[in-house]
Symmetry: C3
Subunit: 470 residues, 3 copies
Amino acid sequence: MAHYHLHPDRFFDPDPEIRKYAREIYETITSLPIVSPHGHVDPKIFAENRPFPNPTQLFITPDHYLFRMLYSQGIPMESLGIPTVDGSQVETDPKKIWRIFAEHYYLFNGTPTGVWLDYEFNVVFGLKEKPDGGNALKNYDELNEKLGSPEFLPRTLYKRFNIEVMSTTDAAADTLEHHRSIRESGWDGRIIPCFRPDTVTDISTKNWAGNIARLGELTGSAVDSFAGYIGALEDRRRFFQRMGATSTDHGVFAPYTHELTEKEADALFRKALQGKATPEDARVFTAHMLMEMARMSTNDGMVMQIHPGSCRNHNPALFDRFGLDKGHDIPVLAEFTLNMRELLNRYGNDPRLTVIVFTLDEATYSRELAPLAGHYPALKLGPAWWFNDSIRGITHYRESTTETAGFYNTVGFNDDTRAFVSIPARHDVSRRMDANYLGGLVARHIITTDEALTIAKNLTYHLVKEAYKL
Amino acid sequence: MAHYHLHPDRFFDPDPEIRKYAREIYETITSLPIVSPHGHVDPKIFAENRPFPNPTQLFITPDHYLFRMLYSQGIPMESLGIPTVDGSQVETDPKKIWRIFAEHYYLFNGTPTGVWLDYEFNVVFGLKEKPDGGNALKNYDELNEKLGSPEFLPRTLYKRFNIEVMSTTDAAADTLEHHRSIRESGWDGRIIPCFRPDTVTDISTKNWAGNIARLGELTGSAVDSFAGYIGALEDRRRFFQRMGATSTDHGVFAPYTHELTEKEADALFRKALQGKATPEDARVFTAHMLMEMARMSTNDGMVMQIHPGSCRNHNPALFDRFGLDKGHDIPVLAEFTLNMRELLNRYGNDPRLTVIVFTLDEATYSRELAPLAGHYPALKLGPAWWFNDSIRGITHYRESTTETAGFYNTVGFNDDTRAFVSIPARHDVSRRMDANYLGGLVARHIITTDEALTIAKNLTYHLVKEAYKL
Amino acid sequence: MAHYHLHPDRFFDPDPEIRKYAREIYETITSLPIVSPHGHVDPKIFAENRPFPNPTQLFITPDHYLFRMLYSQGIPMESLGIPTVDGSQVETDPKKIWRIFAEHYYLFNGTPTGVWLDYEFNVVFGLKEKPDGGNALKNYDELNEKLGSPEFLPRTLYKRFNIEVMSTTDAAADTLEHHRSIRESGWDGRIIPCFRPDTVTDISTKNWAGNIARLGELTGSAVDSFAGYIGALEDRRRFFQRMGATSTDHGVFAPYTHELTEKEADALFRKALQGKATPEDARVFTAHMLMEMARMSTNDGMVMQIHPGSCRNHNPALFDRFGLDKGHDIPVLAEFTLNMRELLNRYGNDPRLTVIVFTLDEATYSRELAPLAGHYPALKLGPAWWFNDSIRGITHYRESTTETAGFYNTVGFNDDTRAFVSIPARHDVSRRMDANYLGGLVARHIITTDEALTIAKNLTYHLVKEAYKL
C-alpha cells in the first residue's frame, strides 16, 4: 500500500538550477485559466449536469488509454465492462471491474495515464492511497460517495478546474442540441462545438451515402451533386459558427492535399454515391476536400485543424466486437512536406487562414513541421498529440521544434480528451513540462528569466486564445 | 598509457539525485543471474570446453563490431586476420594483429564496443592498462597466459558469469550435435537452441533448393510440395523443442506479413524449387512464412522473434571476399503498423502466442512499436538491438517506449552476441542503464523508489524468463 | 530593455560536474583557428574589402534564417527590403526595416539565430542592449558607425575571427574572378572555391541547356555529347583545383546513385538538350552524375560532399516574387542505405576517395549514416546541417552517431553560412556543444578527461583539415 504524496516539484529536472527556475516559472502559470480548444468530452454531461454514475463508469469504461494497457496484458475487454456492438453480455459489476483495475495499477508506472490518474485520485478526489488490490473497495466506496455529492457535479467541477472555454468535437450532422441546451440554461460555462466533417468528407466511411442523405435533410440542400454537397457543408459551417464554433477538425490517414477540377470532384462524388468508389478514389477525394476546407476557412475564418497519421481500427476483431475508439488506432509514418505542398502553396501565404497541424510521428517535428511552420504564415504547430502528450513527449516536442519554429508558431496545449476529470491533470503536466523546458533554457543561459516568464504565459494562455480565436 | 579504474558509478547520470537512486537500484540487481534468451555464441565451445586459442582469435577476428570500426578507418580486413572465402592469404601472426588493434583502440572512445572491451579486459581478465601501442605486447602476453589457465575455460567462465540459461541461434537443418553433447556430458550449464529457419524460408537464399533437400533428408519428408515442406518445418520445430528450444527467430528485410492461399503458396514454392522465383516472389513468400510461423507458434507454444530492417551484405566486394556477418549489414527504414497488421489481426489477440519484435529504426519505437505493444496481447517489444544496444540506445529505448507501452510489454535484455566474453559486460551496461532510467523517474517523482526496485528486478530477471518461457 | 551579459558557461549543461568538464575542455579549443571548409560567403567582399553598407544590409536582407521567421509571423517580405525578381518596389529605408526586426527580436528566443545574433551584436560589435523596439535606432546608429571604421572591414574581421581557411561554394561555370583577385592582391587570407556543378548536372534546372552552352564556351569543349560534357566537367574541376579547391558539393533531392551505360547516359543527355527530359529522366541522370562525380573524385582527389533531402523552393509564390534561397526550402524524408548503395559498392572501399554526407533528417543518423560511416572507408559524416546546426541539433548529432561511428568518422564543423559575421558565433556554438557532449561522457565515466581533450582538438581542428585536405 502506498500513500499519495504528489511532490510539488514532480516531473521537473532534478538538477537544482533547472528545478529552481522551473518552479519559479510554473508558479506564475499554475493558476491561469484552462483554455481547452480541442477535446472529446461529451457536452451532454454539462447539459444534464447529473452526478457521474460510479467510479468505474467515470474512469475506466470510457478511457481507451486505460483499458488498452490492461488488454495488452491479457485482460479481456469484457471483464472491464466495455460494451459490445451486438449487446452481448459483459461484466456489469462496477466493483469487480474496479478491483481488476486496481490490481493492475502498477502497469501504469512511468506512463502519463498513471500520472493523470494519480492527480485525479489524489488532487481532485482526495484519495489517500494509490490503487492496489488491497484498497480497491475502500477507494471505490470513497470515490462513489463523493460522486454523489454536489461538489462533484460536472458544472461544479468545470468551475473548480478553472476552465475558461472548452471545445467539443462534433460531426457535421450533429444537431448540437446539448450545446444549445447549455446556452439556454443560462449557465455561464463556455462549451463550444468544433466542426469535424470526416464522416461526410471521407467517402470510404461506412454508410457514407446515408450520412450525405442526412446532411441533405438537415440543410435542405440537394446533395446529389458535388456543388450541392459543398453548399450543404458551407451551410453546416455557418450553423456551427452561430453555435460558437471557431474551428474545424480533420482526421485523415495522410495529410495529402490535391485540388481536383470541379468536374473531377463531381464525378468522384457521384461514383461514391453509387457505392463504387475505390480506396484510391477515397484518397484523392479526401485530398481535394482538405483543399475545399482550406478554401472555406480562408473565407469564413474558422481555424482548420488536421490530425493525420493514425491507422484507425487496426484490429478488426476488436472493432467488430467493441467498435470505434477502443485503443487500437495505431500511428503510421507521416509525411507533410510533399503532401501539404499544394494546400500551402494555394492558401499558406494568406493571412486570413490558420491551419494547425498535429503529428504522431515525432521524426516529423524537426524534419518537416518546424521548418514548414517557421516559414508559412498560415501554418501553426499543434502541441504533442495523443501518445506523445506525456512528460517526455511534451519535452521532446519543444526540444525538436523550438530551434526552427520558435515558440510563437505553436498554439499552446490541447488536452484532446474524452475523460473530463483528466483535464486539469493534463494541463498541469503540460504547464510543468513547459516550465521545465524554459527553466532548462534559463539554466543554460539561452534565454533570461524574464523572457522565460513571458513565454510561459504565452504558451499557457495567450497563444491558444489567439490561434483558436477564443 | 592509461591505467584502468572502472568507476562504480559509470554511465549513471552525474546529477547527484539521479545517481544516488540509480546506484541504489543497480545494487539490487547487479548479482541477479544472467538470462540470455537470444545470442550467437557457438555452442561448440561449451561442448569441447577447450582453452580459447589466443587473445586475437578470442577478441578480434570473430567480432564484427570491432573490425568494422577499424576497417572504416582504412585498416584492411586482411591485416586483421579475417579469413577469406577463397582461403587466400591473410595476416596470421596474432601479435601483429593485436598491435594494430591496440594502436587504434582510441577509435572506440565513446562507443559501446569500447565500454564492453574495457569491462572484459579489466574486470574479466584483470588487465591494468587500457590498450595502446605501448602496452600491446604486454597486454597480449598477460591475456594469453590467462587463457591457458583453467579459470578461463568456457564452462568455468559461464559459471563465473552467473549465467542461468543461454540460447544459441541455429539453422533449421542444424543437427544440434553440440547441444546434445553438452547435455550428455552431464555439465549442468543450460545451453539451449533457437529455431532460425531463414535459410529455408527465404527463397532468395543462395542454394535454397539445396537447403530444402537437406531438410527433406533430415526429416524424411517429401519436400517437393508446400505441404510437405510445412510438415518438415513442423518436424524440425518438434526436434528443437525436444532439445530445449523455447523460441524461434526470423531475420527479414521487412516485417511484411500476408497470408496466401494454400494453392498460391504451393505454386510459389514449386516455382522457387525450379530456381525461377523473382525478388517479389521472395518478398511475398517470406510474408506468408511469417504467417505460417505465427500459426505454428500459436500451436506449439514457441516464442516467435522477428528481427527485421537490416540490409544484409550491403557491400558485395566484402561479402565476396570475406562472407556473411562482416560488419556490412546496414539498417533501413522500418514499418510495422501496416506490415504486421495481417499477422496481428489473425494471431495478435491469441493468448497462446508471444511475438517479440526488434527494430534498428529508433523512429519506430514511439511511432509504431510502443502503440502496438500497448494494445495487442501477443506482441512484446524486444530490447534495444545491435547498433542501439548501447548506453544511449538503451536509455533512448526506455524513454521512447515506456510512456505508451509501459514496462510490462517489454522482455528484458538480449545480449545477441557472438562474443561470449562480452556477455557480462553487455548485461552490466543494460542493468546500469535501466537503473539509471528508473533512478531518473524516481528523482522526477514519477515513480517511487519501491516501484523502481520492483520494476528493476522484473526488467533484469523475471520478464525475460516469462516472455521466453525459461 | 535587456542588457547583454553573455554568460561564460552558456549552453553548457547546468549539472556542476558536466559544466566543470565542459568548461575545461572548451577552454583548450576556444582559441584554435577557424577552419571553414564549406560555406556561402560571397568572395567579392574580400576581393573588394569595402565597408559593409549598413546594419540592415549586413544582417537582415541576406539572411534567410532571419527573415523566414519574421515572414512566418505575418511580416511581409517587402517590408523587410527583400529584393523582388521583377524589381518592383520594396521597403528601402534601412532604419524602418531595422525597427521591424528589433520589435520582433523576441521571436528568436530559444533559436540558434537568436544565439548567433546575440554573439554578433555583443561580442563582435560591442552592443550593450539586446534589440527591442525601444533601442532600435540607438543600436542601428552604433552598428552603422562601426561599420564605417577600418576595424570592421571584411579582411580585418577575417583576421580578427582567426580564420585559417574558408571555402566558398561556386557554380561550375563561375570564373572565380574574385578568388583570383584575392590571390593577386597579395593578401594572405586563404579563400578557396568549391566546385558545385548542380546547375549543369541537374537536367531539370531552369535554362539547363544555356548552362551547358556556357560550359562549352568556357572550356572550349564540344558539349553536344555526353562524352564532351564529361570532358568539360573534368576540365572545370582541374581549373577549380588550380584555384585552390579541394572539394566538390552536390545538392540533390535524394542521394540516389545509379550507373547508366555510356549509351544510356548519352541518350538522356541529348534528350535533355532538346528540352524533352521528364522528371524521372532528371532523377536517373542525377543518380548517374553522382557516380561520375565519385569516379572523378577517386581520380583527382577532390573531396565529394553530398547535401541531399531538401525540397527546394517549396513555395512557388515566394519563389516567383523573390527567387532562390528565401527560406522556403523544406526537408523531406531521407534514405541513404539503398540510395547510396551503388556508389558505395563501386567506390566506397577505395582509399583514394572521401565522400562527406549531410542530412536534414535526424532519423537517419543512428539508423543509416552512423552504420554506413562506421563501415565504409570512403564515407564520412558531415556535421549537423542547417536546421540542425543548433544547440540541441549538434548535441543530438553527437548522441546519435558516436556510439556506432565513433568520433573519427566525422569531419568537424561546417558553418555553411551566407552571413560572414556569424561565422565566429557558429563555430563558438559548435565548440561549446562538442565540449559539453565530451564533458558529459567524462562525467559519466565513459571516457577520461585526457581522452576528451584529445578528441576535442580533433573535432575542432584536425579532423576537418584532414577530411577536406586543407
